[in-house]
C-alpha cells in the first residue's frame, strides 16, 4: 500500500498549484498571498511535525533529517522568492500568475528529487524542476535574449536528461532495480551508468565542464529567474548529489571518485578563469557560481571530516549571499531598463550607500575574506579537505579564491572608486531593501557567531 502521508508536503504543494490556477485567472496578486501563506504553513508543519512524515520509511534517521532540513530551507527560500518576485516582474511587464505556478512546479520537483529513494522518481522530479526552469528562462517572450536562453537551456537540458535516462537504464539493466540501496555490488555497467547519472547532475548544478549553458542562460533570462536558477533548484540538486554520493558509496568506486575530483578542480578553475574578463554582471555571477559549485563538490567529497553543520553553513551562506546580491541588482535600474553591464554599478556608493555597502559585504563574503561569514564557510571546507588528504584540490581552491578576489574587487572598484555615468533610478522597494540589508547583517553576524547555526544543524544529525 502506498504511504500517502509521507507525500503530504508534495500533495500540499500540488494543492497550492491547483488553487493558484483557479484563483490566478481572477486575480494575479492573490496567488502571491496564497502561496506565501501556504509555504509558511508548510515550513511550520515541516519544522514541528516533519518527523512524523517518514516514520514508516526505510530511510536512516540522518537521511530523514537531511531531507527535512533541505525541505525547510527550500520552503523558506520559496516564501522569500515568491514575495520578492512581484516587483521585478512588474517592472518588466511580465507579472502573470503563471510565473508563480512555475516556481511551485520547480519547488515540487525539488521536493520530489530530494526525498526520492529511487532513480525513477528522482528523474521525474528533476524533469519537473528543469521543465519549469526552461519556462522561467524563456518567460519574457518578447525579448529575444530570453527566448534564446530558454531554447539553449532546454536543448542542453534535454541532452543531459538523455544522459540521465540512459545511465538509469544501464543501472537497471545491471541490477534490475531503481532503488539506491541495491547498488552494493557494482559491475562495470552500473559504473558507466552511474557516471552518466553524475554527468547529468553536474549539468544541473552547472559544474564545469558541463557549465556551458550557465553564462548564456543567466544573462538572457529575466534577472528574477536568474536568481531562482542560482539558488533553490541548484540547492536541491546538490543535496541530491550529496545523497547519491554517500548512499551509493561513490568514494569506494575509484573511477567515479576521480571524475568527482576532476570536475571539482575544473569547476574551481573555470569559474575564476571565465569570470575575469566578463563585463556583464549576470555572466560574472554565473562564473562565480561555478567556482562555488567547485567548493561545494569539495565539501561533499570531504564529508567524513566535516559535520553536516558546516556543509549546511556553506550552503546557507551561499544562498543568503546570492539572494542579497540579486536583490541589490534587481533594485537598480536606469531609464533604459535593468542594468546589465558592470559599469552600470559605477558610483553606486554615491547614489545609494546602503546598497553599495551591502554589495561590499556580499562580494567580500563570496571571496572568503574575513570578517564575513564566507570566510568560515570556506575555512571549514578547506579544513575538511586537508584532513581528507586532498592537498592538490585545496591548493587549487585557494588559488582560485585569490583570482576570484580579483574580479570581486573590480566590482567593488566600480561601485566605490568610479563616478557614475548614467543616473540610476533607485527602485526603493521596501521588501528587497529589507532582504539585502538583513542578508548583509546576517552574513556579518554569522562570522562572529557561527556556532548557533552549526550546532543547530549538527544536533539534527547524530
Amino acid at each position: 500500500m502506498i504511504d500517502f502521508y509521507s507525500f503530504a508536503p508534495e500533495i500540499f504543494i500540488l494543492a497550492l498549484i491547483l488553487i493558484s490556477i483557479t484563483f490566478g485567472i481572477l486575480n494575479k496578486g492573490v496567488t502571491i498571498t496564497i502561496n506565501a501563506t501556504g509555504f509558511s504553513l508548510l515550513t511550520i508543519f515541516l519544522i514541528f511535525k516533519g518527523h512524523s512524515l517518514y516514520q514508516n520509511s526505510l530511510y536512516s534517521l540522518n537521511t530523514i533529517n537531511l531531507i527535512l532540513l533541505s525541505k525547510i530551507i527550500l520552503s523558506i527560500g520559496s516564501i522569500v522568492f515568491i514575495l520578492l518576485s512581484r516587483r521585478p516582474l512588474k517592472n518588466e511587464n511580465l507579472f502573470r500568475y503563471e510565473y508563480i505556478l512555475f516556481i511551485l512546479f520547480a519547488i515540487l520537483g525539488s521536493f520530489v528529487l530530494i526525498s526520492s529513494d529511487n532513480f525513477l522518481t528522482a528523474f521525474i522530479g528533476l524533469e519537473l524542476q528543469s521543465l519549469s526552469l526552461y519556462l522561467m528562462a524563456a518567460f519574457n517572450t518578447k525579448n529575444l535574449n530570453s527566448n534564446e536562453a530558454g531554447i539553449k537551456y532546454f536543448s542542453l537540458g534535454a541532452l543531459s536528461s538523455g544522459f540521465l535516462l540512459f545511465g538509469i537504464s544501464m543501472i537497471y539493466f545491471d541490477t534490475a532495480s531503481f532503488t539506491f540501496q541495491n547498488l552494493d555490488n557494482f559491475s562495470t555497467i552500473s559504473e558507466v551508468g552511474l557516471a552518466l547519472v553524475l554527468i547529468a547532475l553536474f549539468f544541473k548544478v552547472s559544474a564545469a565542464p558541463f557549465h556551458i549553458w550557465t553564462p548564456d542562460v543567466y544573462e538572457g533570462s529575466p534577472t528574477i529567474s536568474t536568481l531562482f536558477f542560482a539558488t533553490l533548484p541548484k540547492f536541491a540538486s546538490l543535496i541530491f548529489l550529496f545523497r547519491i554520493y554517500h548512499e551509493l558509496n561513490i568514494p569506494k568506486i575509484d573511477s567515479l571518485h576521480y571524475i568527482f575530483q576532476i570536475v571539482c578542480a575544473i569547476s574551481l578553475l573555470v569559474g575564476v578563469y571565465g569570470a575575469i574578463t566578463q563585463k556583464i554582471i549576470k555572466r560574472l555571477l554565473a562564473f562565480s557560481s561555478i567556482n562555488h559549485i567547485g567548493f561545494m563538490l569539495l565539501a561533499i567529497m570531504s564529508y567524513q571530516y566535516m559535520s553536516e553543520g558546516t556543509i549546511f553553513f556553506y550552503l546557507i551562506i551561499y544562498l543568503i549571499t546570492t539572494f542579497g546580491v540579486f536583490s541589490v541588482i534587481l533594485n537598480l535600474r536606469t531609464s533604459e531598463g535593468e542594468i546589465t553591464l558592470l559599469t552600470g554599478l559605477n558610483g553606486l556608493k554615491a547614489s545609494s550607500r546602503s546598497k553599495a555597502i551591502s554589495m561590499l559585504v556580499f562580494l567580500f563574503s563570496l571571496a572568503g575574506i574575513p570578517p564575513f561569514a564566507g570566510f568560515f564557510a570556506k575555512f571549514f571546507i578547506l579544513s575538511a579537505s586537508i584532513n581528507e588528504g586532498f592537498y592538490v584540490l585545496s591548493v587549487i581552491a585557494v588559488i582560485s579564491s585569490v583570482i576570484a578576489a580579483f574580479y570581486y574587487l573590480s566590482v567593488i572598484k566600480n561601485m566605490f572608486f568610479n563616478e557614475s555615468e548614467t543616473e540610476l533610478l533607485l527602485d526603493n522597494n521596501k521588501l528587497s531593501s529589507f532582504i539585502f540589508i538583513s542578508s548583509a547583517i546576517i552574513i556579518t553576524l554569522f562570522f562572529f557567531y557561527p556556532d548557533p547555526l552549526i550546532n543547530l544543524v549538527d544536533s539534527l544529525f547524530k
Binding site: 559535520s307 574575513p370 570578517p371 570566510f375 586537508i386 585545496s394 585569490v402 557561527p450 556556532d451
Partner: protein, 484 residues
Amino acid sequence: MSFPILSLLILTPLIGALTLSLSNSAQLKNKTIFASGLWITTGEFLLSLLLPIFYDKSQNGYQFTEFHTWFDKFDINYYLGVDGVSIPLILLTTFLVPICLLCSWNSIQNRVKEFVIYFLLLESFIIGVFVSIDIVIFYVFFEAVLIPMFLIIGIWGGENRLYATFKFFLYTLAGSVLMLLAIIYIISITNTGNIEVISKFVFAENIQLILFLCFFASFAVKVPMFPFHTWLPDAHVQAPTSGSVILAGVLLKLGAYGFMRLSIPFFEFASYYFQPLIFSLSCIAIVYTSIVALRQTDMKKMIAYSSVAHMGFVTIGIFTLTQDGMNGAYFQMISHGIVSAALFLIVGVVYERHHTRMIADYSGVTNIMPRYSFFFMVFMLSSVGLPGTSGFVGEFLVIMSTISVSVYLTIFTAVGVILGASYMLLLYKNVNFGDVKADIKKLTDLTNIEIFYFTCLAFLTILLGVYPKLLFDMIDASISIGIL
C-alpha cells in the same frame, strides 16, 4: 586583570566607525568628522598607554588575557593577550593613526566621513593582529586589514591608484591564502588554534619545511622581502600621504611580527634550515633596493625602496635567531615605523603645497621653509642611522649580531648602511639646497599642526636613540622566553 582592555582597544575604533557611519553625513561638516575621528583615536591612544603602565615586566607569558569560546567543534577561540613584543607595536599603531588623521586634515576634502571610518576600521584590525594569540583570529585580522587599506588607496590615491591597490591586495592575498592552508593543516594536526600550545608542539621536520614556506609566502610579501617587494613602491606612490604613513609605519611590521610570533616559535628546525635563504634574500634586498633607491626621481618611491632595505635589516636580525639580533631587529622595526612614517609625512607636506613628488622640481627649499628642513634633517639622519637617533641602535645591534653568524653578512649589511646614507643625503641635498626655483618661492612653511606632529615624532626618535633601554626593558624578557 578582569578589565577587558584589549577588547576595548579593538572595539573603540570599531564602535566609533559604526556611530559615524550611522550619523547623517549631510549635516556634519568635514572638520567635525575629522575632529570626532581624532577624539576617538586620541582616546584610543590614551587607552593603549595603560598597557605599558600596568604590564608586569617581571612575568613571562601573555598578560591581560581574555578568553571566550568561539566554536564548540574546533578549539578556535577568541583568545587575546599581549606580551612585551606586542605592546610597543600597539602603541606605535595608536600613535600613528591620529597623526594620519591630522595630516589629512587639509589634503582630504572629498568623502571625508568614509576616510575617517576606514582609518578607524584599519586601526581596529591592526590592533587585533597584535593582540590575538589564537592563530585563526590572527589570520582573520591579518586579512581584514586589507579591506580598508584597499579602499583607502583606491579612493584617495594618485592617478594610477587602481593598478596599485589591486596589486597590493592580490599580492598580499595570494601570500596569505597559502598561510591559511598551513594554518588549517596545523589545526588539523594539533587540534587547537592556541599559539602558545602550538609553539610547544614539535612538527615533523619535512612538514615543518613546507609549513614554514607557506607562512613565509605570506609574511615575505607583507614585509616585503626581495622578490615579493614590487607591490610596495606602487602602493606607496599611489597612496595618499596618510595611507603611506600607516603602510610604512605599521602594515610592514605585520610581516615581521608574524615571523617573530608564528614562524620561528612554530618551526624551529625550519627557521635554522632556511636561514641562508632568508639572509641572502635580505642582503639582496638591502643592496639592490638601495641602489634602486639611488636612481629614483620620485621622492616617495625613493623612501619606499629605502623601506624595503630597512626591512631587510629587520629580517636579517630576526633570523640570526640570537637575542641581540632579535632585539636589534625589533628596535629597527619600531624605529623604522616612526622614521619612515615621518619621512612620508615630510614628502606629503611639500606634495600638498607643490603637487609634485619629483625631486627635480625642488631645490633650495631650506631658504623658504627652514622649519621644514630642520625636521627633514632629523628624520633623514635617523633613517641613515646617526648615533643618538633611534635608527642607529637597531642597525648597530643587527650588524653586531651578524658577526656571530657570518662575516660576509656583516659586510653586506654595512654596505647597505653606506648606500642608505648616500641616497638619503642625496635626497636631502637635492631638495633642500641649491638655487631657489621661482615656483618654490610661493611655498609656505609648516603650519602649527604639522609642527606639532613632527615634534612628537622627532622627540620619540631621539628619545629612543638616547635611551633605548626604555624599549629593551619591555621586549627583552618576552623575546628571550617567548620566542627563542
